[in-house]
């Protein structure tokens, strides 16, 4: 058992009265006041999240783009400078080691953000796959703090942060899944219009030593825009409504990308990439679907999905009473035969069968 890790924002969370939870070895704020209030603030105004536990890697060198095409499931070499792309790091057997976001900083310079709990596995895989290529992958996680500002007011809030300056792209012109460089009090800041909530928002990568000051400045700028500090509980309910998978729930070493609906993330016609040989799931492999139900009783991770006669055909991976929609929602892996239109499915909620309707993901989509 290793000691729990804390982010550079620990004191901020403590001052706000956060409850902490273990997440991938990190002590992270799960909530400050109320899960629901924090969730709603992000949908209606804005929330600030500490996501400094996530891991960052640089990939640099003349062969960086070629290397990423081999190391990851997507085709990263075609991405323009200034863009970000969701991708998957696969094992040789086609299972998912992690889901990552890749940012192209320069022709031969990329940044990868991965999940905290997979940091070591991602680091090992990235190192191993460099082979003889002219590329170096480096874990730079400890050098950075990462702050997410999410919600319809996030652009207005960040534009009002005094210390942020020298943007390479004006706020209003920053596109979704793209990044801009800037400075925070004269030091480099990376602004990415990405997030994990289904709302407009940004993720701010800053030197670890400056994270607390940036947090404070964003909080001040957000005072008149309804900004609240939001914890992991709200982050989880927001991402579930947005139909975004969570590693450990929807994604794992045992899941092939196509099962999770990520067939399109895999560029199978690439010459070679790790996992290519076994990336196609078995024909009877369970597939991820969305389910909605009536009432207020939610199916939760681990609960069975059953047919009318009680036959178990799947399992819920994430489930909650949707705060925004007001009814239960769930993601579940089910047998392909039961994923077809017209199959009557039920959530087995502690022995009670609750009728569920197959629903296309995401459950919630923000108004543009």
């Amino acid at each position: 058992m290793t000691d729990p890790r804390y982010t550079p924002l620990r004191e901020r969370h403590e001052a706000l009265g956060a409850s902490f939870t273990d997440f991938g070895g990190w002590q992270m704020p799960v909530r400050y006041t109320s899960d629901l209030a924090e969730h709603r603030a992000v949908r209606e105004a804005a929330g600030i999240f500490d996501i400094s536990h996530m891991a960052e890697f640089t990939v640099r060198g003349a062969a960086a783009a070629e290397y990423l095409d081999y190391a990851l499931a997507g085709r990263l070499s075609v991405m323009s400078i200034g863009k970000a792309k969701y991708s998957l790091l696969l094992a040789e057997d086609g299972g998912i080691i992690d889901d990552v976001i890749v940012y192209r900083l320069q022709d031969d310079d990329f940044l990868i953000i991965s999940n905290a709990g997979n940091r070591d596995a991602v680091s090992a895989a990235l190192q191993e796959r460099t082979g003889d290529l002219a590329v170096a992958a480096e874990d730079v996680s400890d050098a950075y703090g990462l702050i997410a500002v999410q919600g319809p007011n996030s652009e207005a809030i960040l534009a009002a942060v005094a210390g942020i300056d020298e943007l390479t792209v004006p706020w209003a012109e920053q596109k979704y899944y793209a990044w801009a460089a800037a400075t925070y009090n004269g030091k480099p800041l990376l602004l990415a219009r990405t997030g994990y909530t289904g709302e407009d928002g940004f993720e701010l990568l800053v030197a670890a030593d400056d994270a607390a000051a940036l947090w404070d400045d964003v909080v001040v700028a957000g005072e008149h825009h309804g900004l609240v500090a939001a914890g992991l509980a709200a982050r989880d309910s927001l991402r579930l409504e947005a139909g975004m998978p969570l590693y450990g729930n929807e994604l794992s070493r045992d899941i092939r990308p196509a099962q999770a609906g990520f067939g399109r993330v895999v560029v199978a016609d690439k010459e070679d990439f790790v996992g290519k040989e076994q990336v196609t799931p078995a024909s009877d492999a369970r597939v991820l679907i969305g389910l909605t139900a009536e009432g207020r009783r939610a199916g939760r991770a681990g609960y069975p999905v059953v047919l009318a006669d009680g036959t178990v055909v799947g399992e819920i991976t994430s489930g909650a009473l949707s705060p925004t929609l007001g009814h239960p929602i769930a993601m579940a892996y089910v047998d392909p035969s039961s994923a077809e239109e017209g199959t009557e499915l039920f959530l087995d909620v502690r022995g009670t069968k609750i009728p569920a309707t197959r629903t296309a993901l995401p459950f919630y989509r923000r108004k543009k």
Binding site: R31, S34, D35, L36, A233, R296, A298, A320, L321, R350
Partner: protein, 125 residues
């Protein structure tokens, strides 16, 4: 405002107020805080006979499910529909608006419950 010292408490974080033979039962603020935002409450039918320790319902929060344990033995004579309709009452008003059930108690059924000091002591343990 309920005088919290006038209530009895179970180690499972229920409170009991008595008026003659009728006990009003709810869950404490400590339990409500620990559960987080309550989003679903299931209560028994009126007329259900409960023995002390029986599961009489569920309180479901955004992140967890907790069973509710009868702190007394007796028959359910009333349930609080307001809490079923608006489970958030448990968070906002655990000792007032969010009482859960009323039970006609059998003789001696309050034996073994804690007083306020005894209950606070276990929450601080």
């Amino acid at each position: 405002m309920t005088d919290l010292n006038s209530l009895k408490y179970s180690e499972e974080h229920e409170w009991v107020a008595t008026d003659g033979a009728v006990a009003t039962i709810g869950i404490t603020d400590f339990a409500a805080d620990a559960l987080g935002d309550i989003v679903f409450v299931e209560l028994p039918e009126v007329g259900t006979e409960l023995s002390r320790g029986d599961v009489f319902g569920e309180a479901e929060s955004t992140k967890s499910v907790s069973e509710l344990y009868a702190p007394v033995t007796g028959k359910v004579v009333e349930i609080n529909d307001a809490v079923v309709d608006d489970p958030a009452l448990v968070n906002s008003s655990p000792f007032e608006g969010a009482w859960l059930i009323k039970v006609e108690i059998a003789d001696g059924a309050l034996d073994g419950l804690l007083d306020r000091d005894g209950y606070v002591a276990i929450t601080e343990a």
